[in-house]
Point group: C2
Chain length 320, copies 2
Amino acid sequence: MLNFNQLRIFYHAARNLNFTAAARDLFITQPAVTAQIKLLEEYCSLKLFRKKGRGVYLTDEGRALFEYTKHVFDYEKEIEFAIEEMRELKRGILRLGTTKTYARYFMPFLLTRFHQTYSDIRIHLDEGSSQAMVQSLIDFKNEIVIIAKITSHPGVRFLPLSREGIVVIAHPDHPLAGKAAISTEELAEERIIMKEGGSGTRHLIDDLFIRANRTPNIVMETSNTEFIKLEVQRGEGIAFLVESAVLLELEQGLLTSLPIHDQTLFLNVSIAYLEDQQLSPPSRAFLETLTNLSGNDIPALGIGALMTKIRTHRDGLTAT
Amino acid sequence: MLNFNQLRIFYHAARNLNFTAAARDLFITQPAVTAQIKLLEEYCSLKLFRKKGRGVYLTDEGRALFEYTKHVFDYEKEIEFAIEEMRELKRGILRLGTTKTYARYFMPFLLTRFHQTYSDIRIHLDEGSSQAMVQSLIDFKNEIVIIAKITSHPGVRFLPLSREGIVVIAHPDHPLAGKAAISTEELAEERIIMKEGGSGTRHLIDDLFIRANRTPNIVMETSNTEFIKLEVQRGEGIAFLVESAVLLELEQGLLTSLPIHDQTLFLNVSIAYLEDQQLSPPSRAFLETLTNLSGNDIPALGIGALMTKIRTHRDGLTAT
DNA sequence: GGTATTCATAACCTCTAATTATGAATGGTT
DNA sequence: AACCATTCATAATTAGAGGTTATGAATACC
C-alpha cells in the first residue's frame, strides 16, 4: 500500500530537484522532506535520489517513479476540480418526481426557470402517482417530488408550493354552460369523467361529494388528463381538472368552465422531500429557485397565475 | 489538497457499500471508516453517502467521486507493480561506460552473459577515453565503467577485472617474425603505430620504453584499434595491442605476434564505480554477474582466455 | 577564506487517525 | 412480538506518523 503523502513529497522534491524548495511548496520544513523521502526509499528498497554536491537529482528508478507521480497529482487536480464543480453546481443531477399532469403543465415552466440559472445541472424528471412519488423519496430514487398532499407521511416534509384552482369543464354547448352558479347537487346529476383514484384532484372531488352527501355519476375514470379533456370536448360528460391544465382550451373556446355554487376548489400542490436527509446541492438550488421565483405569493396565486404574471413581466421588460 | 487516506477509505466503502467491510479490507476498525468518511464529506462540503436502514449507498456526488477514486487506486496498483519490477530487475537501465576497444572486444561477451540473466534490463553502453569514463562516474552519467586503471581517483573504487595480455603485432612477412625473443631495444628501432595518449595500453608501453631508456619510433598514433590493425597488415609498422583485440587476425594468419624478450606485458582492466554511492539494482546485478562468471580466475586469465574457456565449456555441453 | 546554501541527523512534540467501548436503528428469525 | 444480529454513529482515549526546532557537514559561490 503506497503512502501518498510520501509520494506527494517525492513528487515535489523530484519536480524541483531540491528538497528545500519542495518543503516550501508543501508548507513544511526541509527535514520533513528528507525523512519522508527516506521512508519512501526504504519502502521501495530503491534509491530514488542521488546527492551531488549540495543538490540532488533523480536516479533512473526515481525518474521512472516521478513519471508515475506526475500522473497521480495531475489527476488529483482534476478530482479537486470535479469536487469544486459539484459544490458550485457546475455539474450534478437534479432528481425530481411529479405526476403526469404536473409534468405536463407546471414542470416545463419551473424547470426552464431552474435551467436558466443552473445550466450545467442535468435534470431527471420522474413521473408517477402521488403515492408512488412519495415512495420514490423513501427509496432515494428522487430527492424532491411535487405532488398534491393527500396524506402525511412520517419523515416526509411537505412545503406548500401552489394553490391550484380546480375548474369544472364542459362542452361549450352543455346545458349548464353560462349558468351563474351550479350546486354540488346539480353536478351529481351530471355524467362525470373522473381522474383516477390516488390523484390529488380525485381526492378533493370525492371529498366535495361526501360533504354534499351525494354520489357522483362517474361514467369513466382515468389518470390521463389529455384523454379527459378530449372526452369532455366530445360531449361525453363534465370533468374536474386543474385550471392550468385547461387554460388553453378555455381560451380557445374548445371547453367552457362551470362556476360552482359557493365553492372555490383548490388543490394544495406541495414540494415534498425527506426531512432528516440533507438535500444535495442541486436539490437545494431547486428549492431556492422556487422560493426566489414566488416571493411568497405562489401558494396564494397558483402556478397558472404566476406563469401569467411572469410572462407579462417579461414581455413588459422586452417591450421597454 | 486531497487527503488520499480518506480517498482510499472512501473507495473501499463505496466499493462495498458497507463501512464494516471497508474497515475489514483496510485492516482498521469501523469507527475509523466512519470518521474519515465524515472528514472527507466535510472537506468536499458534499454528502457522499446516504444511510438507508442499516446500510449505506452513494449519492450522485459520491458516485461521481467513486469513479475518480477507482482510477486512482487502479493506478496505485500499477505504480506498485512498477516499483516491484524495478526492485526485481524486471525493468531498469544499466549504465555502463568503457573505452572503444573494450566496447568492441570484451563488452559484447560480458553483456550477452548479463542479458541472458536479466533480459528486461536495458543497457546503455557509453564509450570514451579512460579519463572521460572516470569523469562520467563523477558526473553520474554512468554507474560502472570498465577501463584500464591508470591513475587512482579519490572516491572511485577500482576492482581488478582482468589482466589482458599485450602483444606486439606485425605483418607475417616482417623481418622479426619468427624470432625467438625480441628486446625492447630492437622494438625501439621499429616503426611503431601507437595507440593515442590516455589509453591504458599507451601508458604501459610508454613505461616500457622509459624503463629501457629508449625512445620509440612512433610513426602514427590513433585511438582507433581497427585502423592500427589495418595499418600493420599493410606493413606500415608494428603495434602493441590487447591480445583479445587481435585474436582473430592472429588465428587467420593476417597478423603475427612478436615474442618480447623477458617481458610479459599485462594491462590491468578494472571495474570502477563510486565507492560512497549505493549502486542501482541493475549495476549491482552486473557486478554480481561478473563475479559469478569468473569465480576468481578472470584477473589471472584475462578475458580472452576466459572467453575461450567458456566457449569450450558451452560447446562441450552442446556436444554431450 | 568566509559565507550562504543544501541536505542529514537527532531530539522532541503535535495532532491525525487509529482504538475501545457503547449506543441507536434496522432487519431477519423463531 | 420479542429477540438477536448487523450496521453505522458517537465519545473517550491512545498510538504513532509526521511534523518541528536546532544543529552539523558538505559544497558552491563571491
